[in-house]
């Protein structure tokens, strides 16, 4: 991302040793975490893992039989499903799980956020997270040629603000209306920077891009490509046809009709709205080197509209009598945030929840391809000077944001491992849920706090003044809603009606 104060300033690539770039060190740091967590979880498989695998396969077989016989006893079917999931979870245990933690949700007593569901204190895990991230980035800063001498104190300050952001977002009403931590991290940072000013001692830890790039490589491990085909061809058509059409169409609309001054802002808003919300915005912003303020604005727009859509779409679907499958697929393809998709789908019913969450999952997997495509487009087209020849491959390689390769590599490795069977799948799930997902969340939170600490309200106002970002988002989302609805209806009502009927049972 850029710090340039003028919009669309030409990007200057500073010549540094490639081995000292943040991109490479983001890959190293995230790669270390992923490797250690994967090795530890694999080696810590229970001694009786072969027996547990047999037990799981037996229960899965019983469940398959019960479902194929259309068992009418829904209670025993639900109990069997729960037993199957529990047996799957027992296949692998992540021994590093207790060393990292995130805050719990709370209702009226914020101290409950520091205690898990079983009543155990989360402070050891929080301390573990602090120490781990501090150690990782101390090494990372040395690697990029910075002196981390004052980093520890600065990091402690930024980490405390990130903890406050998680605390604010963990209040149940806030959480269940999708006002997620990214928003509060920005707000907390903005409050500090626009009241008392960002303290000078905190500046060494304001490393937005480094946190984001490392977090994105960790996110790559969660992008399991084999999930693409869960919903079969209908799922691929619903997610993969509509998303690129909306992304590219809205981008062209923003450039040609609205004449947006900033291409990167245009692209981040389009990705945010058409793919999957905040995580897509983060990945795209890093890939096209968007300014921090542009990322903040895109996320603010997305969150504002997501809450509205989450509340409005379920009754609209019921009024239109779309049914749970078409309705769920429509929700999954349009509402930006994954959590809000599940909440909206859940309001319609179990089938809608399953379909909506699965469609959104398929869109989540698109993030890697979108980030890669945007990076290539930016390097070969946008950053090219008008009268220059096409950039050579070496030039493309030099300018290409390397962290995207780390992201894709993590995805490829974890997808390959996950595809090897239920035990391998359990190992990758344990690594993701026990370590990488938590760390990734902290890194993004630290990044958004850093953005807030470096942003002045006046800088944000200039983007809102013209109203174009808002118009872009509204028009793009309207296009997304219309095209998604048409495709979902076509696919599940006309082309694959049997799929819809099967899923409804």
């Amino acid at each position: 991302m850029n710090d340039s104060s003028s919009l669309d300033a030409p990007v200057t690539v500073v010549e540094t040793s490639p081995w000292r770039s943040e991109d490479i060190w983001a890959i190293w740091l995230a790669g270390t975490v992923l490797s250690v967590a994967l090795a530890a979880t694999w080696l810590a498989r229970p001694a009786d893992h072969a027996k547990r695998l047999t037990d799981f396969e037996e229960i899965a077989g019983q469940l398959e039989t019960a479902e194929s016989q259309n068992a009418t006893d829904s209670e025993s079917l639900a109990a069997l499903r729960k037993k199957s999931e529990a047996a799957r979870a027992r296949l692998a245990v992540n021994p590093l799980k207790t060393y990292v933690a995130k805050l719990s949700s709370w209702e009226s007593d914020p101290l409950k956020a520091f205690v898990d569901a079983q009543g155990h204190s989360l402070l050891p895990g929080l301390l573990g997270t602090l120490v781990l991230v501090l150690a990782l980035f101390s090494v990372g800063l040395m690697g990029v040629g910075d002196k981390p001498r004052h980093f520890a104190l600065a990091f402690l300050f930024v980490f405390l603000l990130a903890t406050l952001a998680f605390l604010l977002s963990g209040q149940k009403v806030v959480k269940h209306y999708n006002l997620e931590y990214a928003l509060w991290a920005l707000v907390v940072g903005l409050i500090v920077s626009n009241t008392i000013g960002t303290p000078a001692f905190a500046r060494p830890a304001i490393r937005t891009e480094f946190y984001i790039k490392t977090g994105l490589v960790l996110l790559g491990a969660e992008v399991l490509i084999n999930r693409l085909l869960v919903l079969g061809l209908p799922g691929v058509l619903t997610s993969w046809l509509v998303t690129p059409v909306v992304l590219i169409g809205t981008y062209i609309f923003g450039q040609r009709v609205l004449k947006m001054e900033s291409r990167s802002l245009n692209m981040v808003i389009c990705a945010d709205m058409s793919v999957c919300g905040v995580s897509a915005a983060i990945a795209t912003a890093a890939a096209c080197r968007a300014k921090k303020e542009e990322l903040s604005l895109a996320i603010g727009l997305s969150l504002a509209f997501t809450v509205g859509m989450m509340v409005v779409m379920p009754p609209v679907i019921q009024w239109l009598d779309l049914g749970q499958v078409v309705g769920g697929a429509w929700i999954g393809g349009t509402i930006d945030s994954t959590g809000a998709v599940a909440a909206a789908g859940g309001m319609l019913g179990d089938t809608a929840l399953a379909v909506a969450a699965t469609v959104k999952m398929i869109q989540n997997v698109l993030i890697g391809f979108v980030a890669f495509g945007v990076a290539i487009y930016w390097v070969t087209v946008v950053e090219r000077t008008p009268d220059a020849a096409s950039p050579s491959l070496i030039e493309v390689w030099r300018r290409f944001p390397k962290f995207v390769l780390g992201f894709l590599a993590a995805s490829l490795v974890f997808s390959t491992i996950s595809a090897r069977g239920p035990e391998a799948q359990a190992v990758t799930s344990a690594v993701i849920s026990g370590t990488t997902e938590t760390l990734r969340g902290w890194l993004f939170c630290l990044a958004f706090v850093s953005i807030g600490l470096e942003t002045n309200f006046r800088e944000l106002r200039q983007y809102l003044a013209s109203g174009k970002p808002l118009v872009l988002y509204v028009c793009g989302q309207a296009f997304n809603l219309a095209l998604s609805l048409f495709m979902c209806w076509l696919i599940f009502e006309k082309v694959f009606p049997d799929v819809a009927r099967t899923l409804s049972h």
Binding site: N178, G346, M347
Partner: protein, 104 residues
């Protein structure tokens, strides 16, 4: 914010204003989060909605599918439904002109 001895009078004034503004914001947020939001959360409709999400394993704040507790079960249910359907189509496909199983 710099220590006062390094500042001019107008900078000191700015510091005091900044600190006052921060204090006001902190108090406002404390009231909102400790009093108003919990009161909103005690409304029957909100409690029902929150309980409903928790029972279904929905985390509305999830940014990515891996953060959704309900997803593994949902995904496996869909996989099982579709594989049963494919098996049933293949059984009937032997005489069909266009094997529908090929679509999946």
């Amino acid at each position: 914010m710099w220590p006062a001895r390094f500042l001019t009078n107008s900078q000191k004034g700015e510091n005091r204003r900044g600190a006052s503004l921060l204090a006001v914001v902190i108090v406002a947020m404390a009231i909102l989060w400790l009093k108003i939001l919990p009161a909103v959360g005690r409304q029957a409709a909100i409690q029902y909605y929150v309980r409903h999400n928790e029972q279904l394993g929905i985390d509305p704040a999830a940014k990515f599918y891996t953060e959704l507790p309900c997803l593994p079960a949902a995904m496996h249910r869909i996989e099982r439904s579709l594989s049963r359907q494919q098996a049933s189509i293949r059984e009937h496909d032997t005489d069909a002109a266009i094997p529908l199983g090929a679509l999946y």
